[in-house]
């Protein structure tokens, strides 16, 4: 596979960047009441599911009510975190000047405090997408997700850590912002995380308080069932979010980059990296909404602050432009992308699946690569 810089001529890269900018400008100029109506409807659906889910658990002694309650609450948390929280906190609706849709003020239904996440996600991950040692989302500091990460016996546990991360994903996202790996390496002092930790404790206390104390207690004798229901809803959301997010950057054919090749990047080169470093997931409209439109990871990484409902509208155009420049456009159904990620997690647990010379495409093969055309 060719490196980042020698895929296109510098002129082509800039021309490509201009085409991307043109799409962006067209969408930004078209933003209006429809976009607000859309997100307000999603918010209404989420709040209704939440109230219904909590309400049904008061009848949790009746198994169908318990199952329906957990289902509704799981969907509520998924919508809250993915289509609403993630996207609002990207500033996708800041132009509405509605305080309830403000990236600065929004708080989501998960233990990770919005303020900590915004920094690590919006800035670090979206700026340094898939740059090894810069993008801390590569393996979340605990996994080996890139052959360029040097192998260590610790990584033999790669599949186990990944499974644990999937189950406790909201806690993983919260602790991710502590940059524990950097503290261990001495790059960051424990004392410097004081504010980050204080926010975590406050937020986690509130979340744990409502899900595992207040709502169970309110249901009286049903408390254990309610607690179990709430834990199941959190688990469902955790597994879903983990799956979608890991399919966004880690399927086999998605590329990662070095700091050297991304130095002094132009805007066109940055766009190029976003395309090479992201992968979409195919599916129907409801599936896209439940992924927070992260199933359009490529479009999201190109235009992180454009309302996510616009991604499906521009996907065809982005793909056609990629084809025009001979660039890959990684996409596939969820099961295939998940399998690809799982295989990577297992392979990279082993020392001989590293990078002596070739990039991982050589070992993991381009069989799953969906050509742009």
């Amino acid at each position: 596979m060719t490196g980042l810089q020698d895929r296109l001529t510098p002129e082509q890269v800039e021309e490509f960047g201009r085409e991307m900018d043109a799409i962006r400008q067209r969408i930004v100029a078209d933003l209006g009441a429809e976009d607000v109506q859309y997100i307000q409807n999603v918010i209404k659906a989420q709040r209704a599911l939440e109230v219904a889910g909590r309400g049904l658990l008061f009848a949790g002694f009746f198994p169908p009510a318990w199952i329906a309650g957990v289902g509704a609450l799981s969907l509520s948390k998924i919508l809250d975190n993915m289509e609403i929280g993630h996207n609002v906190m990207h500033g996708q609706y800041d132009w509405t000047r509605d305080p309830a849709l403000s990236s600065r003020r929004f708080e989501w239904d998960t233990v990770a405090p919005a303020e900590n996440w915004r920094h690590s996600h919006n800035y670090i991950h979206h700026t340094y997408t898939n740059i090894l040692d810069k993008d801390r989302d590569i393996g979340y500091g605990v996994l080996r997700m890139d052959p360029d990460q040097r192998w260590h016996p610790y990584y033999l546990g790669n599949p186990v850590y990944a499974a644990l991360l999937a189950v406790f994903f909201q806690w993983g996202v919260m602790l991710h912002d502590l940059e524990f790996d950097r503290i261990v390496k001495g790059e960051r002092s424990w004392a410097s995380t004081k504010e980050v930790r204080a926010r975590m404790v406050r937020k986690a206390a509130r979340q744990v308080g409502k899900d595992y104390a207040l709502f169970p207690l309110l249901t009286g004798p049903l408390a254990p069932l309610t607690l179990l229901g709430n834990a199941t809803a959190n688990l469902t959301r955790n597994l879903w979010a983990f799956a979608i997010i890991f399919c966004g950057h880690f399927p086999a054919d998605v590329e990662s980059f070095t700091e050297e090749e991304t130095e002094n990047e132009t805007r066109g080169q940055w766009y190029l990296r976003q395309i090479l470093g992201s992968a979409n997931i195919t599916g129907g409209p409801l599936f896209h909404i439940l992924t927070g439109n992260l199933s359009h990871q490529i479009e999201h990484h190109l235009f992180p602050d454009i309302p996510a409902r616009r991604y499906p509208q521009i996907a065809g155009e982005v793909r056609a432009i990629c084809a025009k420049y001979g660039l890959p456009y990684h996409t596939g159904p969820l099961h295939r992308q998940l399998f690809s990620v799982a295989r990577k997690i297992v392979k990279l647990a082993l020392p001989w699946n590293g990078r002596p010379s070739e990039r991982e495409s050589a070992t993991l093969g381009g069989g799953e690569r969906a050509a742009a055309a």
């Binding site: 709040r47 000047r97 600065r104």
Partner: protein
Amino acid sequence: MPRIAALAEALLTPHGADRYLELIHPMLVRREIRGVVTSVRRQTADTVTFTVRPSRAWRGFTAGQYVRITVDIDGVRRTRCYSPASSQHRRDELEFTVKADPSGLVSRHLHERITEGAVLGLSEPDGAFTLPRPRPGRLVLISGGSGITPVLSMLRTLADEGHRGEIVFLHYANTADDVLYRDELADLARRLPGLRVVLGYTHQDSGGDLHGFCTAEHLDAVAPDRAGTLTYLCGPPGLLTAVRALTEHRGTSERLRTEDFAPPSLELDTTNATGTVRFAHSGREIANSGRPLLEQAEEAGLSPEHGCRMGICFSCTTVKARGCVRNALSGELSHDDDEEIQLCISVPVGDVEINA
């Protein structure tokens, strides 16, 4: 009740009770202040007068103060300052009169679109253009056009208090057809024994009491200078300038109170300004001139949304991605990344990046 409210907030974390209540009805919110429009009338061709019943968080206002009204236009929240014209003693209903500015976004929207049942965003009241207590024995209230609202609020408040002092209410309108609250003023004159209403027409030389723009003769005729008289003034810039000059000439400036929404004095240092201002969304860059960011953005060819240009209305609030800015009103420094700042009163300190 407070305990139930606290429990509800704990159960509905992180969004809070208001975000659920508003889905049942927008006026059910407990913390936010909103108002539902209860009546709409058009007194003159280019104005709209509407009454608003505020939500439960409203704590009242003092006559002469203003409120920030927020409306949704094409999906975007827009905020402007308007002074209620109603008495401060009417807690359940606020009245506003807005003149449609041909180039104004919010005033035109209100003029053309507002209907009974519409829900508006309201703020806490603000402003120091208010009457002292005890009420002064001699008052002159001067207004022009829709600038009548804060002084009419004072007049209605005094009427509700059974005020018995002398009041001269001098109001300027373009023509007889443009006079706002004509019937209400006549009615107030009957309720307030000390009130004298004087109407001036700037573009009509018949009818009314005075003609042409405000002059020394006007003031001498209706409000001769007498010790202890307080004058309250609100209206277009021309009227403000004229009355200010006249009171200065009389040496009574310290007894003049004005509501002019004029820019306050900002502390600017344009000689020692350093760094570059980068407007991230447009990709434009400009060398920091030491002037407020709104002006610098306009200099760079951008046209950011704005309102008062003096730090009141928050229309120009924008996210500062990086760098440090100084609030030119308070002198406060803001160092944090991704912080919302008001462009009109924020001055860059070195390099800054603005999401505009």
